[in-house]
């Protein structure tokens, strides 16, 4: 049954996932074990996204399926959310002047399912907003996503802000979105960049050093 659920999740087979969960609940399986299996299935989804077998639309569907599983567990009355130990904290946001958030939302989803705590600052975040959030939360990774070239200055100012506050050594900064490139990464003084959401998880694992 475990394998069936993992496979159904990996295949984005919502019906298969929900029927497996129902059967497992009836058989008395621990809800947290079910969540863990879904997470394993989600890893398959993430890998298929990386290898371009799945695309953004598929990731959104996987998130919906997982939400429905949580709803089922919740309604079963035997599920108590347990605060799991997170692998680390990541701050995400779109820089000042940019209100696009699809890509950022996707990165947030991938990071959460990979075991990281995500502090999503939203869009149009001023440079000091990233610095303050990192200082307050102790997050060691900051991800900034942008689709517009006029945000380049804001990216640079954000990195400089971390330097001015003496936090640059302790915080890794990654850039994402359609407007970034190696050139932009160097200009801003960030640590990594990618246009692929899945890379944010790789970078975070490498930065934090835990999986």
């Amino acid at each position: 049954m475990d394998e069936k659920l993992v496979r159904a999740m990996g295949d984005l087979d919502e019906e298969g996932v929900l029927s497996s969960v129902e059967a497992m609940l009836s058989a008395g399986t621990e809800p947290l074990h079910i969540v863990e299996l879904c997470r394993e299935g989600f890893e398959i989804v993430g890998k298929r996204y990386e290898t371009r077998e799945y695309f953004l639309s598929g990731l959104i569907i996987s998130d919906d399926i997982f939400e429905n599983v949580l709803g089922l567990l919740d309604r079963s009355g035997c599920f108590q959310a347990v605060e799991e130990e997170k692998l680390g904290k990541v701050i995400l946001g779109a820089p000042l002047g940019d209100v696009h958030d699809i890509g950022k939302g996707l990165v947030s989803q991938l990071l959460r399912y990979s075991g990281y705590e995500v502090i999503d600052l939203g869009v149009n975040v001023r440079p000091a907003g990233f610095v303050e959030a990192a200082a307050e939360s102790g997050a060691t990774v900051v991800g900034i996503s942008t689709l517009i070239t006029v945000a380049y200055e804001s990216l640079r100012e954000t990195v400089l802000g971390f330097q001015h506050e003496g936090l640059r050594e302790s915080v890794k900064i990654m850039l994402g979105g359609g407007a970034v490139s190696q050139r932009v990464c160097e200009y801003a003084g960030a640590d990594a960049w990618s246009r692929d959401a899945a890379d944010a998880v790789k970078f975070t694992k490498a930065f934090i050093g835990k999986e």
Binding site: F55, L56, S57, G58, D98, T149, V150, A179, V184, R195
Partner: protein
Amino acid sequence: MLHPGDTMTSEERLQAVINLQVPDRVPSCPFIYYFSAFYAGISVHELWSQPGKYRLAMDRCYRDLGPWDVYYPVNPLRPELYTFIMPMKAKWPGIDLPPDSICQLLEEEIMKAEDYRWISELAQRIPKLTYIPFFMRMISRAWDDIGEDPRGYAFILSRLVAHLANWRYEFELMKKRGVTTLYGFLPEAAFDTFSLARGFLEFARDLKKRPEEIAAAADDLTEGYLFICRLVCFLMGIKRIEIFVHRSSTDFISPETFRKLSLPSLKALVEKLVAAGIAPILHCDGNWDMNLEALRELPAGHCVIQFDGPTDIFLAKQVIGDRVCIMGDVPSDILALGSPMEVDEYCHRLIEEVGRGGGYIMGAGCEIPPNARAENVKAMLDSVTKYGYYDREG
């Protein structure tokens, strides 16, 4: 002639490359909008709200950095008209944003799931007139003060007429200086329109729950699209149409979904436009590498495809260069942060590889970024005379 070495007019040159013939040289077509405001020292609010200032800003770009062969018009006379093309809520500089910001589109749901069926019903009753009622419904949901009623229709249509009159005037000004205009109208492809108007989260769910409704509605809008494209082309005197395809790349959907749900209605529209003597120009944002083979289904020798950077334009030349004219794709980051030498090198490569044998238009990857360095824009435009003469290449 724009340059001493030219033997063709800009219009002849553009038509030659669309027809996959070898012109005298590579034509240039910079997609300039926000950049002109920053370059000319006016606010973006002034750029979109004052046509006179827009013209002065473009004129300054043309004089200082041009000339260019083909004018790429994207300036809406009123913000509401933006929604007539891309049905999304937006924040506008000078209204919701500081005057020097760029317009920002919001990913919100303004189209409902039940609208797919409504579109199909509408197309049963008035197949040629579906575009306007569909977009009026979207506009009424994006703008609080515009209703889906006679007053709303009068408001939008009167502004559309004023906009087209303004465009026609601008096109004439460009023509007088030897510059031709890329297109007379610029709709978003039907499938992609739904993706924008539903918001991508909801649209992704629709792709799973109601793919047949999406395909049917997109298909049912074809006649309405064709009608408005033909009408506006006639009014503008330009027999070319830009079709935005913002959401069909693999950045959003799988190649399989593209083939099944997006391509059929896109292809139907393109074929009907070509049959009507109108050349379609597809503005393909995102990564199309995995969809290039499918694009071979478009009629050969009649279409332009503009790529914006994520697509490997050199691969595109190999896969579809014998079928469609390719436009692009000087990357935004080079234009904003690179040097003129780097721009020159990249443009040289574009001309040598993508321009080989004709069928290529020099342009930026999408729009010239607002913060592009002027000397880089000039380097891009200069490259077509420096490297782009076919007779000099032998």
